[in-house]
């Protein structure tokens, strides 16, 4: 094959050689024949006859050199390139269209692939499953999603007939001191068999084993991630065997994990791995990891040959027995008979997890598919545009094509020539798209970590081009090539040889109908994108207009976590009070307060509650809870609507825990109390016969956002500093420029403890922005994509209308000569455009309706079929389209009758 291809490039030499060879043959034959007595002409005739035609032999030999289709293709290629070179504006427009389409699609696909599709770089990832609990939980959890207890993971690991192994893991922020400074990093707390089940080796030293996960606190060892070792420890060769401080506890580094392995969460990459037996050190205040608390994700590797379904059904009898056993455990909570029944009905659910477990994936799965669909439509529009351009070129070349047909070119051959053209354009566009995509991906990758509560965790996302992405881009380009070539190729088959030769150039209407259909389709598709963008912009707008319910001007926040830095609860509590006091005294401070949990991070402390009114009320859903210092509501500008604010009565000395008073929000009152007066009622966390309401509601506050702007849950706030709080988020209303205040605050905290890291130190407006990351992403990207779509379809419309005007110049000229008005010439052209726009919109509306249901969950305060949004979108689209059609129409009215009639 290669040699045959090489023949193409030395074909001139081959031709010359063949020519000489055949000539030699003929001359020798003629000479021989003459010697046998034939006349010169007779000999010549006979020799040629014997050979069977010189040209035929040459052609047959050429087929040996390179097969027919390949030779044809090479000729097509050369012809295409030459014709593109001669029509630069056509080529540039077509290539740019596809570059936009392929570039945008590839960029989004890069994220889709990395976040949603890419399997972990571990052994046989296809056998990994996530094991989750379906049914009633009786014990609270902390962490992200799919939470299970550590003992359950141990039990599952023993079910060897189903699993090769089952491991569990949980991400937690820790403070790590390596060679000097303490730095906040993310740790993955894992069961001892984690690396072994995943099949991940060490790059240096060794990885964790089950022996490291023995008695609680007995094995102070950690494994470093390769990236952390390289970037933060400068690849120090002697790090294995050294002791680092994890939350002030000395831990020995036993190894560095393999370079390619970045944990099982693409969105949050751990810097270190800690055995679960050391969870007391990694998660301060967490004592009982062997209890029922749910805090880890459990994943397993199915035994070879075991299907997910077999394992899931096979596990249930064992699981039921386990549940019945659990009920008799001494630490099993006391619950109502009904909840016990629900609990016993729980089951295990297995889902495939070759991509691991990721909260980023959970957040992005819908937005990314929406955006991928949008870019798909954009690519489709680009293809239609190129198609339309080809048709326009085809009409201009009508006579040439007619001539080629008349000379005996087959229609199939002509169609193939057109497809070759479109593939070349598509590949050129695709290659350019490949170069632009990484730029867009880099911007988005830099933006995405804001979706996660612990913004400091690095992620495994990259903007590079790997083989999978390359394959995708090439496939997308080839599909685009086929898609944009198919209409013109089909059109070319319908050529009538006679009409195209008979008609004079410039009057043929070939391809016009197809081009109008294409433009109509473009208008319809563009409408869906414009409406989609309008919906996302409205959503973002509605959320911004709603606001968090408190005043973010000059407000900065930061967290300190005493328990991660070696403070006992009582010491930590004293330290926080000291920092609080100093910040209040500082001249930059207008007001300052503390909350136990930060606002607008997507997470919250939550629990169902029991309310003691004239009867016991149990809330059916979770109430979001927090604890704040007196002065919090004033600092944030949150109004107290009834009762009293927290004051010094609510503050208790360190080491005296217990909740005494609470302030609830309006929603809490409206949703759970059905018109009762909330003041004086007693509440408590949790439900069931054991819940003893003993906290008095002393006030009602206006609603504001805690988890995020979309939140509409009931809230109850308790006083902070009642007891043992040792970690806190400070909210400080500063005077003057917040950015200068940041350095003053940093200095204050340094003054109290030199080594204490400030976590998530930023202005609250920035935090608010971050909480809207998904919405920003969707609004910005869909708006830019729909703007591109608009440009593409306007170019299409403009092209078709210009063509119409050129073709009808003579007709318009005659009409004008016969006394028609200028405006009637405009109308003549515009009427065509209006028909396309109206039909396009009519087709687009049902599409809008269908797509609207897909994006509904991403919207806020706007319906997918909102009439105003749709009307405005139609208005934008229609007015832009009419403007695009107006320019050629104006030109029609400017036709000079005498000129038009003379043109021929």
């Amino acid at each position: 094959m290669i040699r045959k291809l090489a023949n193409w490039f030395r074909r001139e030499k081959l031709e010359a050689s063949l020519d000489r060879e055949l000539r030699y043959h003929l001359e020798r034959r003629i000479a021989d024949l003459e010697r046998s007595g034939l006349s010169a002409t007779e000999a010549r005739r006979l020799a040629a006859l014997e050979l069977g035609g010189l040209a035929q032999v040459q052609e047959q030999v050429r087929d040996v050199w390179l097969s027919r289709w390949a030779r044809d293709f090479a000729y097509d290629l050369r012809f295409s390139l030459r014709s593109f070179y001669k029509m630069p504006s056509f080529t540039v427009t077509a290539v740019l269209s596809l570059m936009l389409g392929v570039g945008a699609t590839t960029a989004i696909y890069s994220l889709v692939d990395q976040v949603l599709l890419h399997a972990l770089p571990v052994q046989a990832p296809e056998r990994l499953v996530l094991i989750d609990w379906k049914g009633e939980h009786v014990v609270g959890g902390f962490g992200s999603w799919n939470l299970m207890s550590y003992p359950l993971c141990r039990d599952l690991d023993r079910q060897k007939q189903f699993f090769e192994g089952v491991f569990c893991r949980a991400l937690t922020p820790v403070s790590l001191t390596a060679f000097g400074d303490a730095q906040p990093v993310t740790a993955e707390v894992v069961s001892g068999n984690y690396f072994q089940v995943l099949g991940v080796r060490a790059a240096a030293g060794r990885v964790l084993t089950t022996e490291d996960d023995g008695a609680p606190g007995a094995n102070p060892v950690i494994v470093l991630s390769y990236d952390f070792w390289k970037t933060k420890l400068a690849g120090a060769s002697d790090v294995v065997g050294r002791k680092l401080l994890l939350n002030s506890h000395p831990m020995t580094v036993i190894g560095i994990a393999a370079e390619t392995f970045r944990g099982i969460d693409v969105g949050e990459v751990p810097s270190i791995w800690v055995p679960a037996s050391m969870s007391g050190q990694a998660i301060p205040g967490f004592k009982d990891y062997l209890g029922l608390a749910r805090w880890m994700q459990v994943l397993g590797r199915l035994s070879p040959g075991m299907t997910l379904h077999e394992a899931q059904t096979g596990l249930q009898p064992w699981f039921k027995a386990l549940l019945r056993e659990d009920i008799h455990r001494p630490d099993f909570p006391v619950i109502t008979a009904e909840r016990r029944r629900h609990f016993l009905n729980s089951s295990l659910v297995l889902t495939p997890a070759p991509q691991g477990h990721s909260s980023l994936r959970r957040r992005l799965v819908e937005p990314l598919w929406v955006l991928f669909a949008v870019t798909g439509v954009l690519l489709g529009l680009a293809c239609l545009n190129v198609s339309s351009l080809f048709l326009a070129r085809g009409s201009a070349h009508e006579r040439e094509i007619g001539t080629r047909l008349a000379l005996g070119a087959s229609r199939g051959r002509l169609g193939r020539q057109l497809l070759t053209d479109s593939f070349i354009i598509a590949l050129a566009g695709g290659v350019l798209g490949m170069f632009t995509a990484p730029i867009a991906v880099r911007a988005m990758v830099a933006y995405l970590p804001r979706l996660l509560p612990y913004g400091n965790a690095p992620n495994a996302l990259h903007a590079g081009v790997d083989s999978r992405l390359l394959l995708f881009a090439v496939t997308a380009s080839l599909a685009a090539g086929l898609l944009s070539g198919i209409a013109p190729a089909w059109q070319s088959r319908r050529h009538s040889l006679f009409t195209s030769l008979r008609e004079r150039s410039g009057t043929a209407l070939g391809g016009m109908r197809v081009r109008k259909v294409i433009v109509t389709a473009q208008i319809a598709l563009t409408l869906t994108l414009v409406v989609g963008a309008a919906l996302f912009v409205c959503t973002l707008d509605a959320l911004m207009a709603k606001g968090p319910g408190f005043d973010t001007t000059s407000l900065v926040s930061f967290a300190i976590r005493g328990s991660q830095n070696g403070y006992s609860p009582a010491e930590g509590n004293r330290m926080i009070r000291r920092v609080d006091e100093l910040i209040r005294q500082s001249p930059i401070t207008q007001a300052a307060a503390i909350a136990r949990y930060p606002l607008l991070t997507g997470g919250s402390w939550n629990n169902p509650m029991t309310i003691l009114a004239d009867k016991r009320i149990e809330t059916p859903d979770d109430v979001n809870l927090n604890a704040v210092t007196p002065g919090f509501f004033e600092t944030m500008g949150i109004r107290i609507l009834a009762g009293r604010n927290f004051d010094n009565r609510d503050v208790r000395p360190p080491g005296d825990p217990g909740l005494r008073s609470a302030i609830v929000n309006e929603t809490f009152v409206k949703r759970y109390l059905a018109g009762r007066n909330p003041l004086g009622l007693l509440i408590c966390q949790g439900t069931g016969p054991n819940a003893k309401p003993n906290v008095e509601i002393v006030g009602v506050m206006s609603n504001f956002s805690y988890r995020g702007l979309r939140e509409e849950a009931g809230q109850a706030y308790f006083p902070f500093l009642e007891g043992n709080d040792s970690g806190a988020t400070f909210y400080v209303k500063v005077r003057g420029n917040p950015n200068t205040a940041l350095s003053t605050i940093r200095a204050i905290v340094r003054g109290v403890d030199q080594t204490l890291p400030l976590v998530d130190f930023r202005t609250v407006s920035e935090q608010l922005d971050r909480s809207l990351t998904t919405e920003h992403l969707l609004a910005t990207l869909s708006a830019s994509f729909s703007a591109l779509a608009l440009v593409l379809s306007l170019v299409g419309l403009y092209g078709v209308m210009s063509f119409v005007v050129t073709q009808r110049t003579r007709e318009i000229g005659i009409r004008l000569a016969l006394g028609a008005q200028r405006w009637s010439a405009i109308w003549l052209v515009l009427r065509d455009a209006l028909a396309m726009i109206l039909v396009g919109i009519a087709i687009g509306l049902p599409l809008v309706w269908a797509l609207g249901r897909l994006v509904k969950s991403q919207l806020y305060d706007v319906e997918p079929s909102d009439p105003t949004v749709i009307a405005v979108s139609i208005l934008i689209l229609a007015s832009a389209a009419i403007a695009a059609a107006w320019i050629p129409a104006r030109r029609a009215s400017g036709v000079d009758p005498t000129e038009a009639l003379r043109v021929e």
């Binding site: 040699r3 045959k4 050689s17 063949l18 000489r20 060879e21 055949l22 030699y24 043959h25 020798r28 034959r29 014997e50 050979l51 069977g52 035609g53 035929q56 032999v57 047959q60 030999v61 087929d63 040996v64 050199w65």
Partner: protein
């Protein structure tokens, strides 16, 4: 196979090969001269023949084909398989004749 056999005796040019084929087969095998050249080029493409421009017997430059090592091997294979086929046919005829 015939071409390979002819060339295996001595390097020859296209016309010469055509002549030899004509002679050897005593005009039983009527090879069309026109199909000779595609065949020669196919064999050259496969690497069984090598073509060189040399002085011919008439003093003019002609393209002489000679057998390559791979061509020699191929010829042996084909001869062998032909011999077996011919032998088998012979056996069948003998059987029928008795």
């Amino acid at each position: 196979m015939l071409i390979l056999q002819v060339v295996s005796l001595e390097p020859a040019h296209g016309y010469g090969i055509a002549q030899r084929l004509d002679q050897i087969s005593r005009s039983v095998v009527q090879a069309n001269q026109g199909s000779l050249y595609p065949a020669l080029h196919r064999l050259e493409q496969k690497g069984w023949l090598r073509g060189e421009w040399k002085q011919s017997e008439t003093g003019r430059e002609a393209k002489f084909y000679s057998l390559t090592a791979a061509g020699r091997k191929q010829l042996a294979i084909e001869k062998d398989s032909w011999a077996r086929l011919a032998g088998a046919v012979q056996l069948i005829f003998n059987e029928g004749g008795r």
